[in-house]
C-alpha cells in the first residue's frame, strides 16, 4: 500500500510527534507514506471568498503532484486536510476556479480534481481496516479511558469532507477500540477549541478549551486524543487540566503497535 504523503509545516516544527509516530506506525502496518517532493504550505485556512484563488494554488500543486505520481494523497494535520480536501472539491466542481487556477499554474496537464485525498485515519479505517489494525496491536491499551476530540475542521463541512457524521462521529472511537482502550463519549467532542482566536482573545480560547476538557473529565476520561496541532496547542495551553494529558492519536497508535 503506497500513498503520497503531505505532512504540512506544523508537523515539521511544533507538531513533530504527530508526524513521526504516524510514520513509525505506518511502517509497522505495511503502509508506505512517500513524502511529496517540494511540497509547500497548504495555505493554512481555506479561503471562503469565491474570487480568491492565490491562496488555493499551493494546495493544487500538491494535488497535481500526487496525480502525476499516480497515487492517492494522505494528510494528517486536520487543518491541512481541511484545506486540501476543500480545494480539491473546488477543482472538481467549480468551473470558474478550475479555469483560473489552471491559467495561472500552466501545468503540463491541467488539474481537474483527479486526486483522491485521504486522512490518515481514513487509511486506517478504510484501507488497513480497524479489525486488521487490532490484530497488529502488540501492546493493547487495556483499561485506558480515552476521549476523542474531533474539533471543527476534521469533519466539516461534512458533505465535502465525507469522513463521518459531524454530530455523531465514530471514526476516532472505533480507532480507540481497535487499540484496546475504552472510548469516552462526551458532548463537547466535536465543538471548537477556540482555534486561532487564541491570538486575539486568549480569554475566549481558554473558555472554549476549558469547556471541552471539563466535559471530557466529567465523563471519566484519562487521556484526550486529537488529530489537530492547533487543538492540541489550545487544549494544553488554555485547557487548565494538567491532570488530563492531551496527545496525538498517532502517539497512542505507535504505543499500541510497540514502535513508540
Amino acid at each position: 500500500m503506497k500513498f503520497s504523503y503531505y505532512p504540512g509545516c506544523t508537523l515539521k516544527t511544533k507538531g513533530k510527534d504527530l508526524d513521526t509516530y504516524a510514520r513509525a506506525s505506518a511502517e509497522a502496518l505495511g503502509v508506505e507514506l512517500a513524502e511529496l517532493p517540494e511540497w509547500q504550505c497548504c495555505g493554512a485556512v481555506y479561503p471562503m471568498a469565491k474570487d480568491e484563488i492565490a491562496t488555493k494554488l499551493s494546495a493544487v500543486r500538491a494535488l497535481a503532484n500526487a496525480r502525476d505520481l499516480d497515487t492517492e494523497l494522505v494528510t494528517l494535520c486536520s487543518a491541512c486536510h481541511n484545506v486540501i480536501k476543500q480545494v480539491n472539491n473546488d477543482m472538481k466542481t467549480d468551473a470558474d476556479i478550475v479555469l483560473r487556477v489552471n491559467n495561472y499554474l500552466k501545468l503540463d496537464t491541467p488539474y481537474n480534481g483527479e486526486t483522491n485525498v485521504l486522512h490518515f485515519l481514513e487509511v486506517l479505517r478504510d484501507r488497513v481496516g480497524f479489525d486488521e489494525l487490532k490484530k497488529k496491536v502488540v501492546n493493547p491499551l487495556t483499561g485506558r479511558k480515552i476521549a476523542a476530540y474531533y474539533g471543527c475542521l476534521l469533519l466539516r463541512p461534512s458533505k465535502v469532507m465525507a469522513m463521518d457524521d459531524p454530530e455523531n462521529p465514530t471514526i476516532l472511537e472505533d480507532f480507540i477500540r481497535a487499540i484496546g482502550a475504552e472510548p469516552v463519549i462526551y458532548a463537547m467532542r466535536n465543538e471548537c477549541c477556540g482555534g486561532y482566536v487564541t491570538i486575539e482573545n486568549p480569554g475566549e480560547a481558554k473558555r472554549r478549551s476549558n469547556a471541552v476538557l471539563d466535559n471530557a473529565a466529567s465523563k471519566g476520561a484519562d487521556t484526550v486524543v486529537t488529530a489537530c496541532p492547533l487543538c492540541l496547542y489550545n487544549l494544553k495551553k488554555n485547557g487548565g487540566h494538567d491532570d488530563l494529558p492531551v496527545v496525538y492519536f498517532t502517539e497512542l497508535l505507535a504505543e499500541a503497535l510497540g514502535v513508540k
Binding site: 455523531n168 458532548a187 463537547m188 466535559n215 466529567s218
Partner: protein
C-alpha cells in the same frame, strides 16, 4: 367515412399565448373526414359546449376532436355534451395541447406545429373509434378503515351512522392511536382521554362496526365497489371472545421487565398486557418476544390464573377474507426519532426527551402518575428548554430531517409550556423557535396567553448544542433578535420532533395502488378540490396519513372521507369503464400469458369447441375477459404473443394510426 368536427380551445391565454390557435384550426380543417373546424376562447364553458353541440347537430358529426387541456380535466365534460346530441361519448377524443404543448414550449412556431400534429393523431384515431357502451358493476355495501386512531374512529362512526357496515383494522391490540397517549389537547386544554374514550366506546358498541385489532391488511384485490381484502389477525395468544379484560394476568405475570411503548418506553409492563385501562377491545395480548412460556415452555402463570380460560399459547396467525365497496387509509404518523440529532444529546442524556415522551411524563396514567420528574434522577426540574422544529423544515440536502413543517408542534409546545408554568410556578420555561406558526381558530390567542399570562420565554433562534455535565444540561443557543449567544443551565430539554408517516403506510399504499409523495404521505386526487380521495377510485384518505394535521383538522377530514364513502356505498351500481380488454378466440393460443399479468384477476380460461377442417370439431383452451372486473390497464394486450388481446377504445389499430399520423409529417 366519419364526419369529424375539430374544436381548438384558447383556454384564455393558457394555450392561445403560445399556440396560434387559428392556424391549428385552419391546418386541421384539411384533414380527411374533417367537415368542421373552429377555435373558441373556453371550450369547457357553457357557451363552448353549446357551440360544439350545435356543430354536431348542424354538420351531422359522427366524431369530435377537442384540442384543449389534459383529458383528466375535461374529457368527461365534452363526452357528456356530445352524448346530449345523441353522439356516443366514446366518439370524442381529446388532443392535449395545454399540458403537453403550451405549458412546456416557449416558441410559438414550434408549439403550433406540435399542436397540429397532436390534433392529426386524434383525428386519425377517431376514424377508427367505435361506439362503446359502459356496463355496470354492483357495490359491496361495506367499508374498510385501515387504522384505528382518531381519524379512523371518526370515519368509521360516521359511515356506521349512515347505516353501512364498517371494519376497522388496527395493528395494535387497541384502537385509540396517538391521541390516547396525549395528555391535554389545545386550544381548550380538555383531557384527550376524556374526549377520546367515549368515542372508542361508541365504536365498540356500534353494531355496524367490527374491530380487527392486532391485525394487518395482508393483500388487496379488486376495484372500486368490489375490493377483496385479506386481513391477518396476528396471534395474541388470548382468545378474544373469552377474555373479560379483568387484567389479573397483567398483574401476576412474572416477566416484569418489558419496555412499555404506550408510555414511550419510560417504564415497563408485563409480557401479557392490556395497553391502557380504557383499551378497546379490552382484551389482553401476550408479547411473544418476552413471554417465558412461549420462549422456553416453562411458566404458564397467566393460563393458570385466568378464570375465563382465555389463554391459548398455541394460537396462530389467522387470515380473514372480507369484501368491501370502499377503503379508507387512516394510517397516521409517528414522531421522528431524533437519534441523528446528537447535538441535542437525545441518545446520551435521559433528561432530553421528545414532546410525546413529555406527554406521558405529565399524564396521570403515565410512569410518574402525572408529576413531572426528570427521568434520570426523578427530581423536580426547575429550568426547561423546548426546542422547536427538530427534524422539520430541513433543507432538501439535509438527510436527517423532513422538508415540511409538521404544523402541530408550535401549538403543543405552547400547551406544554403553559401547563408546566401553571402547575409548577417555580419553573423557568424557554422555547426556542424559528417561527411561531399558529393559524387556526383560537390558536394565536392560545400562544399569546403562554407568553403574556404564563411568562414563558419565547426566543427566536435555534439551539446549537446540549452538553450534559454533572447532572445539568448546558444549553447553548443563539438569540437572533438580540444577536447574542445564550447559555442556559437546564434540568430538562424537550424536543418538538417532526411528524412522519407511519412506516406501514408505504406497503399499504402499494397494495391499494394509491400514490404517495416523496415524504410517504398519501397523495390526494386533487390538492384543492378532491382532498380526501386518492387518485385510485374507491380509496379515501383520513387524517395525518395525507399530511400533518392537528386533532380538529383530522376529525374534519375523517368526516369528509366518510361522506365520500357514504356517497359511494349509497349507489347500487357503478358504471364501469367500457374501455376493457377482449380476446379474439380465433387468435388465442391459450398460453396464459395474459392471465399471469392481469392485476385484477379478470381473465379466465375455458375449453371451447371450434369447427376444424373436414367437419371435425376441435376443443381449444381460450381466454375470456370478465368485463366487470377488467380495469382496462392494457397489460394483457402487451403480453399476448399472438395479438389476440385488444383493448376497446385503445385498440392496436387505433394506436398505430395515431403513431402513423404523428410520424407522417
Amino acid at each position: 367515412m366519419q364526419r369529424i368536427g375539430v374544436f381548438i380551445c384558447h383556454c384564455g391565454t393558457n394555450i392561445a399565448a403560445t399556440v396560434d390557435v387559428k392556424a391549428v384550426a385552419e391546418a386541421l380543417s384539411h384533414e380527411p373526414g374533417v367537415v368542421f373546424s373552429t377555435d373558441y376562447q373556453y371550450m369547457c364553458s357553457e357557451s363552448g359546449q353549446t357551440l360544439m353541440r350545435e356543430a354536431i347537430r348542424e354538420h351531422k358529426l359522427t366524431g369530435v376532436v377537442v384540442c384543449s387541456c389534459s383529458p383528466r380535466m375535461h374529457e368527461a365534460t365534452f363526452r357528456k355534451a356530445a352524448e346530449k346530441e345523441g353522439l356516443n361519448p366514446y366518439m370524442v377524443e381529446i388532443a392535449n395541447i395545454r399540458e403537453q404543448v403550451s405549458w412546456i414550449h416557449k416558441d410559438m412556431k414550434e408549439a403550433t406545429e406540435k399542436a397540429v400534429i397532436l390534433g392529426r393523431a386524434a383525428i386519425a384515431k377517431v376514424h377508427l373509434n367505435k361506439p362503446l357502451k359502459a356496463g355496470e358493476s354492483p357495490v359491496t355495501k361495506r367499508a374498510l378503515v385501515i387504522g384505528g386512531g382518531i381519524a379512523g374512529i371518526q370515519t368509521a362512526l360516521d359511515i356506521a351512522e349512515a347505516g353501512f357496515e364498517v371494519d376497522i383494522v388496527e395493528k395494535e391490540p387497541t384502537i385509540g392511536g396517538k391521541m390516547a397517549q396525549i395528555d391535554k389537547t389545545f386550544p381548550t386544554l380538555d383531557c384527550a382521554a376524556y374526549i377520546l374514550t367515549p368515542k372508542m366506546v361508541d365504536v365498540a358498541q356500534n353494531e355496524k362496526i367490527k374491530i380487527f385489532s392486532y391485525s394487518e391488511v395482508e393483500a388487496v384485490k379488486g376495484f372500486v365497489g368490489n375490493f377483496k381484502v385479506s386481513i391477518r389477525k396476528k396471534a395474541r395468544y388470548v382468545i378474544e371472545d373469552k377474555c373479560t379484560g379483568c387484567g389479573l394476568c397483567t398483574e401476576k405475570c412474572p416477566q416484569k421487565k418489558v419496555p412499555n411503548p404506550f408510555n414511550m418506553n419510560l417504564d415497563t409492563r408485563r409480557a401479557i398486557y392490556i395497553p391502557f385501562a380504557q383499551a378497546v377491545p379490552k382484551v389482553a395480548a401476550i408479547d411473544a418476544d418476552y413471554c417465558t412460556m412461549l420462549k422456553t415452555g416453562k411458566c404458564g402463570v397467566c393460563s393458570k390464573i385466568c378464570a375465563a380460560g382465555a389463554i391459548d399459547y398455541q394460537q396462530k396467525d389467522e387470515i380473514v377474507e372480507r369484501e368491501y365497496g370502499a377503503i379508507v387509509a387512516a394510517t397516521g404518523f409517528n414522531p421522528l426519532k431524533p437519534d441523528k440529532y446528537n447535538e441535542y444529546g437525545y441518545s446520551t442524556c435521559p433528561d432530553v426527551v421528545t414532546s410525546l415522551e413529555l406527554e406521558r411524563l405529565m399524564n396521570a396514567a403515565g410512569p410518574t402518575a402525572g408529576t413531572l420528574l426528570r427521568p434520570s434522577d426523578k427530581t423536580h426540574p426547575h429550568t426547561l428548554v423546548f426546542v422547536q422544529c427538530v427534524g422539520s423544515r430541513c433543507d432538501a440536502e439535509n438527510e436527517k430531517g423532513k422538508p415540511y413543517c409538521s404544523k402541530i408542534c408550535c401549538m403543543y409546545t405552547a400547551k406544554h409550556a403553559m401547563l408546566i408554568r401553571e402547575k409548577y410556578p417555580d419553573t423557568e420555561v424557554y422555547v426556542f423557535y424559528i417561527d411561531v406558526r399558529t393559524p387556526g381558530k383560537n390558536f394565536d390567542e392560545f400562544y399569546r396567553r403562554a407568553v403574556e399570562q404564563y411568562g414563558v420565554h419565547y426566543i427566536k433562534g435555534q439551539v446549537g448544542k446540549v452538553v450534559e455535565e454533572n447532572g445539568k444540561l448546558k444549553v447553548q443557543a443563539s438569540d437572533l433578535l438580540s444577536g447574542e449567544q445564550l447559555h442556559i443551565d437546564a434540568d430538562m430539554v424537550v424536543l418538538a420532533t417532526a411528524v412522519e408517516p407511519d412506516k406501514s403506510a408505504r406497503g399499504i399504499a402499494t397494495m391499494l395502488t394509491a400514490s404517495m409523495d416523496t415524504n410517504d404521505f398519501f397523495t390526494e386526487a386533487h390538492a384543492k378540490l378532491r382532498p380526501v380521495e386518492s387518485p385510485t377510485a374507491g380509496i379515501f384518505l383520513s387524517g395525518v396519513c395525507q399530511g400533518p394535521k392537528d386533532i380538529p383538522e383530522t376529525v374534519s377530514q375523517a368526516s369528509a372521507a366518510a361522506a365520500k364513502v357514504i356517497g359511494l356505498l349509497a349507489k347500487d351500481k357503478l358504471t364501469c369503464n367500457p374501455c376493457v380488454a377482449n380476446s379474439d378466440e380465433m387468435l388465442c393460443n391459450g398460453c396464459s400469458s395474459c392471465e399471469k399479468v392481469c392485476p385484477y384477476g379478470a381473465i379466465t380460461y375455458s375449453d371451447k369447441e371450434f369447427r376444424g377442417p373436414n367437419r371435425t370439431t376441435l376443443i381449444r383452451r381460450v381466454a375470456s375477459v370478465n368485463e366487470a372486473v377488467c380495469q382496462g390497464c392494457g397489460a394483457c394486450t402487451v403480453a399476448c404473443p399472438s395479438g389476440a388481446m385488444d383493448l376497446k377504445g385503445f385498440s392496436n389499430r387505433q394506436i398505430m394510426a395515431e403513431v402513423d399520423a404523428i410520424c407522417k409529417m
